[in-house]
Amino acid sequence: MTVVAMDRVSLALAGRTILASVSLSIGTGDFIGLLGANGAGKTTLLRAILGMVPVTGGSLTVFGQPPRRGHAAIGYMPQGRANLPETRLKGWDYVAATVQGQRIGLPLYGAALRKKVDAALGLVEAQALARRPLAELSGGERQRLLLAQALVDEPKLLLLDEPLLNLDPGQQRRVVALVKHLHEELRVPVVFSSHELNPLLGAISRVLYLGHGEAAIGAVDDVITGPVLSRLYNAPIEVHRVGTRIFVMSGNVEVERDAHRHEHEDGHHHGHDHHA
């Protein structure tokens, strides 16, 4: 069954074309790795599915309908932007605040909502984390809470924006394994954006690679090839395989590693990919 269908979809942000006439469909069994350089439009595509960015051409449907904000069937984990003041606010309250947080009134949580929050925290094994103050948690731990938040309303589609950002390799492996487990256990399709392909290998069913307004979707072996990526990067790209790992090289520069370093230099404004 099709969850997201894109037919010659174009997306633009501040007059700049992000995607031009892209067609693809995402099904119920999919675990899609969404890849591409900074500014390639990974976040913009996710935001279009969420109804936050208007489609400038073609047709985009989510669950057979035009995208709209506040769709309860979509679990969304935004890029972690930690700008928290010194506070002893607990992780549990952080997750609870996101649940039906759009409603008018006081941040009071009834028994039904508490149960849902506890269940979601259980799914990501973060019950213990949730009892600790938010300010004491590491980036990776906060991301677990953000993931729990995305699961609270029993979503039929999970959109995860850069869950691996600023995590060490061990944490990255754990996050990917956890998402894979949730994908299989809850039978929920996942779109997982990332700078790096290697941590996702073995977990994803297909890869969606964005670059220069174009997109390529398919099995890793069909998309991560010299010709396809050269088109997306608009530059000669070579793909090298070492064991189970894949290195995407432009000349003698590793493309992903470069993107990642760039992200670190800009640590205080991860927002830029989000606006581009």
Binding site: R69, G70, T87, R88, L89, K90, T98, G101, Q102, P107
Partner: protein, 282 residues
């Protein structure tokens, strides 16, 4: 022990006399009305990282108050009008103003400059300028008291009504937007509440010291409480304690009320910072 007994008796008698004075009773009531809104507003200002914007609003209020005096209008009316206009502006252009400390600082300085110019033309007394800058809660009239009660009730009702989406928008703006919250609308509404609360608070401690009674309790509450509702109650409670204790201390020492309120606000904040740094606690 007769001496201790006498001191205690004297204190109780002193308190009784203090509360029999009309101007002290008005001051206590005004302080309570303002504290109950200043604390919770401060909590959200700190959570959202907008404390500097709140500070700037108070300064803009000074221009409004002195301008009103120049035009022969009540200072509080001018103060409220200009803080609300500035609050609306900050809300509407919030995204573009974010992290623009220098721009906000320049507006803040210019506001005080204009206030000074208006006072210069009005040939106003130093007392009036000092009252606007540092507060004059002991001279509060019955009319001002009722205006403060109305503003506070209005602000509190509005803040509590939007507190849930405001919390989400403060912690996770992207998520709030995805869930259909209008970030610009919410931020504008909140800044109007901040503007009104700032106008009310400046009646107690003056435009220069609004920061202490608004941001002090909010920041302290954030450090002490583990849940949001508890934090809002602690912020309101702390602001009330600081304002009332400040009034009582001023009565007994004859030092200015605003001095005591700011001293208490800083003392509470510093204590919470020390508590939070304690090993195994923070």
């Amino acid at each position: 022990m007769p001496t201790a007994m006498n001191t205690k008796m004297a204190t109780i008698m002193g308190m009784t006399i203090m509360l029999e004075l009309d101007f002290m009773r008005s001051a206590f009531m005004a302080a309570a009305a303002v504290a109950l809104i200043a604390g919770p507003v401060g909590y959200f200002l700190v959570l959202r990282g907008q404390t500097f914007a709140g500070h700037a609003l108070a300064h803009v209020g000074f221009t409004g108050a002195t301008g009103a005096v120049l035009l022969g209008l009540p200072p509080l009316a001018g103060l409220m009008a200009l803080t609300v206009v500035a609050g609306l502006g900050m809300g509407l252009f919030g995204a573009r103003l974010a992290n623009r400390d220098i721009a906000i600082g320049m507006v803040l300085a210019l506001s005080l400059g204009f206030g000074l110019l208006f006072l210069h033309y009005f040939k106003s007394s130093a007392t009036q300028a000092s009252a606007l800058l540092f507060g004059n809660i002991l001279a509060i009239t019955a009319q001002t008291l009722s205006v403060l009660v109305v503003i506070s009730a209005l602000c509190l009702a509005l803040l509590l009504a939007i507190s849930r989406p405001l919390l989400l928008a403060s912690l996770q703006p992207d998520l709030a937007e995805a869930k259909g919250v209008s970030l610009a609308g919410l931020s504008t509404l909140f800044m109007v509440v901040v503007a009104l609360a700032t106008a009310a608070t400046s009646q107690i401690v003056g435009v220069l010291l609004v920061f202490a009674l608004m941001v002090g309790p909010g920041a302290t509450a954030l450090r002490l409480s583990t849940s949001v509702m508890a934090g809002l109650f602690v912020a309101a409670g702390l602001a009330l304690v600081e304002a009332w204790a400040g009034l009582a201390l001023a009565y007994f020492t004859d030092w200015p009320v605003s001095f005591w309120i700011t001293a208490l606000a800083v003392a509470f904040y510093a204590t919470s910072a020390v508590l939070a740094r304690r090993p195994g606690h923070g």
